[in-house]
């Protein structure tokens, strides 16, 4: 198993929009294979994974590792090969965020999105150690 290091993402404002290819789609959304990843400095550390050509379909995502430093998903060799990851530095891990109320959200740690930052190909993977993780992990928030 390869432990892919999470990347503390600081979106580059100069690259506010990147087209992401997800050949397998997201689980339950297998037919949607093209997304754009939208970054806005005002929304850091969150990013939007928006369906290409449809601004009304989008997932809020975040790099989980800066928020949860102990989170270490084990990416299977098959997924590493599928994504063509040559080095851990090429991989970015993103978690899908579910906003459940004012300042209340959960992270899907069981099915992270792994992105090859070089090729911009991504896949929602199920880590080998998925049993350790929840699909509804509370997002650490600052209480007012």
């Amino acid at each position: 198993m390869n432990r892919v290091e999470n990347v503390a993402s600081v979106p580059n404002p100069a690259q506010a929009e990147n087209t992401i290819s997800m050949p397998m789609g997201l689980l339950g959304f297998e037919r949607i294979k093209e997304y754009v990843l939208l970054a806005d400095p005002a929304e850091e550390p969150f990013l939007w994974l928006q369906v290409s050509n449809d601004a009304n379909l989008a997932f809020l995502v975040v790099a989980p590792q800066p928020l949860l430093p102990s989170y270490k998903p084990e990416i299977s060799p098959e997924d590493v090969a599928f994504l063509g990851l040559d080095s851990a530095a090429d991989a970015a891990v993103l978690s899908i965020v579910t906003v459940r109320g004012p300042n209340h959200a959960t992270l899907n740690l069981k099915g992270p999105i792994v992105l090859n930052r070089r090729t911009l190909v991504a896949k929602q993977v199920i880590p080998a150690n998925a049993a350790e993780f929840s699909v509804q992990h509370p997002l650490p928030v600052i209480q007012p």
């Binding site: 929304e43 997932f59 899907n108 600052i142």
Partner: protein, 94 residues
């Protein structure tokens, strides 16, 4: 549903290119080995359904539909200052 009986180390072939083999039988646990092309996703059903359900819940009607984002703590010592993600053009230049 098609029901087939298989012994230990016996397989079934699906569509000529997917092989499911009984690798181990231990009480009520059956271990299966699955050989499938890379583009064929294989998941435990309950895990697949859990993530699928969560994806459906997480889907929003877009950036404008979410009024306020959660307030998260800033990471200590901003680690990564590199371009994120690296785009194709940047990769070519390297």
């Amino acid at each position: 549903m098609l029901v087939l009986s298989r012994k230990l180390n016996e397989s079934i072939v699906i569509d000529g290119h997917i092989i499911v083999k009984v690798v181990r039988v231990d009480g009520d646990v059956v271990k299966l080995g699955i050989t499938a092309p890379m583009e064929v996703p294989v998941h435990r059903q309950e895990v697949y359904e859990e993530i699928q359900k969560n994806n459906l819940e997480a889907l929003t009607q877009g950036r404008a539909a979410v009024s306020a984002l959660p307030r998260v703590p800033r990471p200590k010592g901003d680690a990564d200052t590199g371009a994120w993600p690296r785009n194709r053009n940047a990769a070519k230049k390297q």
